[in-house]
Symmetry: none
Subunit: 533 residues, 2 copies
């Protein structure tokens, strides 16, 4: 059975979206996540275009991937340059990937107006660039930019370009609907014609400008495409690229084609949320397949039918993509989830235990307040242990005060925090300055507690995220803070929610410390040491 290869360009085309910027660190984490999800190709960036991408390829060289191939992206050589002297092509080689993708023009208008060169020179640019790279890397893909538009205007020339690419030895030829303006039947018939004449493996790269990105990719596969390029959640310039999170289940569950394994499919929802988190984008509730609402039933007719047979109003089994049915009037799946989680945390609890119901209520209350435990399982475990009467009190909170003062326009503000805590009846008051109020609070709190719990020295903060929950409320909106902390052998996420960012951060900080003292250091004996004089 032929496998359709999934080629992800979230890190390159996806990051060209207006509101998306990834740090190099983000890009590396996403690349590994895509690899764990069974994606075949991961386009990491365009080393010729910006230093951040060069940095990415340098760093990524040292990490190993299960199966995904990392790809460096760039363009054909410039007009009237020798390939071996073209800086762009040399950047590609320096990236040191085993796979390289270059794009070239296949629309005559673009050759004349954008490149400002003649049609024959463009053919040489394509051929020479591919030959140059083919001699130096193991796999070369050629993206025929604007192929469908070009073919509609001047089929002979568009065809000549990919014929050149084939002759030059490209391993893949990818037909691109760069402007996202084509209709599915156009993509299908043009692709079919090309597939009849080209022996090289063909791929497709579509955009969503007509809200047809996914449809166009599927139409191409129907006509013989063996590779689909796109991005997670459809990120990308303008209206985005074709959304791989929708393409994959359509290929697999609707068209019966092999692409990702069943196990990988089950992780699609998690992948979608993970990438949204790093892009600091709020989750698209109505996203096909993986959205929170994708299998949520509200209409009375639907709800009663769905109870009798889920197939009545669900086009697939949600579990297959890691999602679940939600009946908005009364969520039945809740209780079993609580028990499932408890077991995960090694807590012994019975589903008939009334505490389970209480925990469920508490969880729902918290979620209504804006808490979200995806990525904050540390706080979730603490909440559970508390609900089961298993949470130890390591210190008693008394109070805090934070002052931020700015005295002159050209002067940086001073942030100072005072914290009062009690450990075994000993009250501790400490103050600290910091880069901003939250950092000052963090420092003061650790200062106060480290005397009693030296193991806090081992703990450090890895990640601090802030999400405004109801943005339209302006500066009085609710704020959710996610912290990622860890020590030598584990990592944990904690969450806080409040209209006051300092209070929200405080909650997440306290949880992070309690997790360290109560759970992470569970195996070591945790009792307050004698305070150093």
């Amino acid at each position: 059975m032929t496998t359709i290869k999934i080629y992800d360009t979230t890190l390159r085309d996806g990051s060209q979206a207006e509101d998306i910027t990834f740090t190099v660190e983000d890009k590396i984490r996403i690349a590994h996540k895509l690899d764990e999800n069974g994606f075949h190709y991961i386009e990491g960036g365009w080393p010729g275009s910006n230093p951040k991408d060069v940095d990415f390829f340098d760093k990524v060289k040292h990490s190993t991937f299960k199966q995904a191939k990392i790809v460096a992206f760039g363009s054909t050589r410039s007009p009237r340059k020798k390939a071996d002297q073209d800086p762009n092509l040399n950047h590609l080689l320096r990236a040191g990937t085993e796979v390289v993708t270059i794009f070239g023009k296949s629309w005559d208008m673009h050759v004349k107006q954008a490149l400002e060169t003649d049609l024959d020179e463009n053919l040489r640019m394509v051929a020479e660039s591919i030959r140059f790279l083919k001699q130096r890397t193991s796999e070369v893909l050629f993206d025929a930019e604007h192929f469908f538009d070009g073919y509609k205007k001047n089929p002979e020339y568009a065809f000549k370009v990919i014929k050149e690419a084939e002759r030059a030895g490209a391993d893949w030829i990818v037909l691109c609907d760069t402007n996202g303006g084509s209709m599915p039947w156009e993509v299908h018939s043009i692709f079919e014609t090309v597939a009849g004449e080209i022996k090289t493996k063909l791929g497709v790269h579509t955009h969503n400008d007509s809200e047809l990105g996914v449809a166009n990719a599927l139409a191409a596969v129907k006509a013989g495409a063996l590779q689909v390029q796109g991005t997670v959640n459809g990120y990308g310039e303008r209206c985005g690229n074709c959304n791989l999170v929708s393409v994959v289940p359509n290929l697999k569950l609707k068209m019966g084609l092999d692409c990702l394994s069943d196990e990988h499919m089950k992780k699609l929802k998690a992948l979608s949320s993970f990438v949204d988190e790093l892009a600091n984008r709020s989750h698209w509730n109505h996203q096909p397949f993986v959205g929170k609402s994708a299998f949520a039933h509200k209409g009375g007719v639907h709800v009663s039918a769905i109870r009798k047979n889920r197939e009545t109003y669900e086009h697939i089994d949600p579990e297959k993509v890691g999602n679940q049915t939600r009946i908005l009037v009364s969520d039945l799946s809740g209780k079993s989830n609580i028990v499932f989680k408890a077991q995960e945390f090694g807590l012994d609890i019975d589903s008939k235990d009334p505490k389970v119901q209480e925990l469920l209520e508490q969880l729902k209350r918290a979620e209504r307040l804006g808490f979200q435990y995806e990525g904050a399982e540390g706080s979730f475990e603490l909440m559970m242990r508390e609900g089961l009467g298993q949470r130890e009190e390591h210190f008693e909170f008394v109070g805090f005060r934070v002052i931020v003062e700015k005295r002159r326009e050209d002067e940086a503000p001073i942030a100072e925090a005072t914290v009062k805590v009690k450990v075994n009846g000993v009250q501790e008051v400490t103050a600290a300055e910091g880069d901003g109020p939250v950092n000052a609070l963090d420092k003061a709190l650790r200062k106060a507690l480290t005397r009693f719990y030296p193991e806090l020295e081992e703990m450090s903060l890895y990640d601090y995220k802030v999400r405004i929950l109801d943005e339209r409320k302006g500066t009085s909106a609710k704020i959710r803070v996610l912290l990622e902390s860890g020590d030598h052998n584990s990592k944990w996420g904690t969450v806080g929610v409040s209209e006051d960012i300092i209070e929200a951060s405080w909650q997440a900080l306290i949880d992070a410390i309690l997790y360290k003292l109560g759970i992470a250091s569970r195996h070591e004996k945790v009792t307050p040491g004698t305070p150093a004089p």
Copy 2:
């Protein structure tokens, strides 16, 4: 030339979306807006299902519509009831619309499991309900629910159902992909078969569960559908309905079919935002055709090409749907972007002017510090005017102090801000409490300035975003704040960056106010008024 009828169900199917609720007032305003936009049918609700919809039809009776027909929606009579005694059908008549749509089952599994009746009774339900309504209203539409799924499982029966509807005299038969699970080629071939055997006018109703809602609607039109049902912005249960805001331009500009007039097309973007506003949903920036980013260009290659010929990277002329090309200011930008932007702001500047180079340097410095002007064009314009010596000083900053104090664990913290500013040598000290430090600062600052600049009363904050730039630095990371503010006739974004979230928010707040005073109110005379005693 045949006209494809546009049937909107935003007010009924659209409002079944998990996060959308319209008041009766909202529904009436939207109905009139759809009418002004040339839509042919407006489905107002399901009077049988809830009192709010009954209310809507009572109110809407008294208002007149240019051309749109208001439609009441409901189901066929219940099993083993007489049509004239069926409450649901009578509700439909009481709505008093000239057009009525009823849905019936065409999937045998649904008849048996959801309706729990036999196949012949379902045929009678369809026929008798249509006859009953046809005698009492001028136009009756029959929605064949789950038609495509039904046809795939049991074509004979699915076909029997619509044949009954035709015999009973339905004016339209609408084939529905209720679960949104069909592929475009399936929709096309099934629709084609039906169109060959049914004389009644055919419509299509699709959902977006496979991210193919728009593609499926277009496939049906290719196969003979004369009516497309959908919603504005694709609202709807689960993953939503087919998005009419994308269907219309595809029909008109890509398929060359008549549906809405050119004038109505130009109002699509405004319609999309209007409905988002009433639904209290923030605008989908990447929405095809009408999104803020739909014709926004960031990639350097794209920007230079778009300048030479917009067709290079735009699939349609954005003006046709009321949208426009935007060139994004970002680290990719060069001198020409600066000049382009200056012209946009109505600033007269020559590309040879050394100030342009200085501005470019300043922009790059700012971006290295973490400033980002996409979405913060207000701050960018202020920076430009300052660079060109055109920025007016409306007040002098002296200082601020923010205190956040929490005294007990179970007690909400108190946030208080003090602000000192000078306006025409008059020093003003004000303090305010708020929901968190930033809100307190915001309030105190406005309090201080509104006495002198009453027009600040017109300004409000729409959006507040916080992005941690180097998350891995934990609580000492750099923070970028984006604010969106506006008044009765415009909106502007401003930005601030600092390790201190309060300082970052302060910068963005100051810019927002300066923009209001110096630019938004440009045409009104802006001089400090005499402070009220």
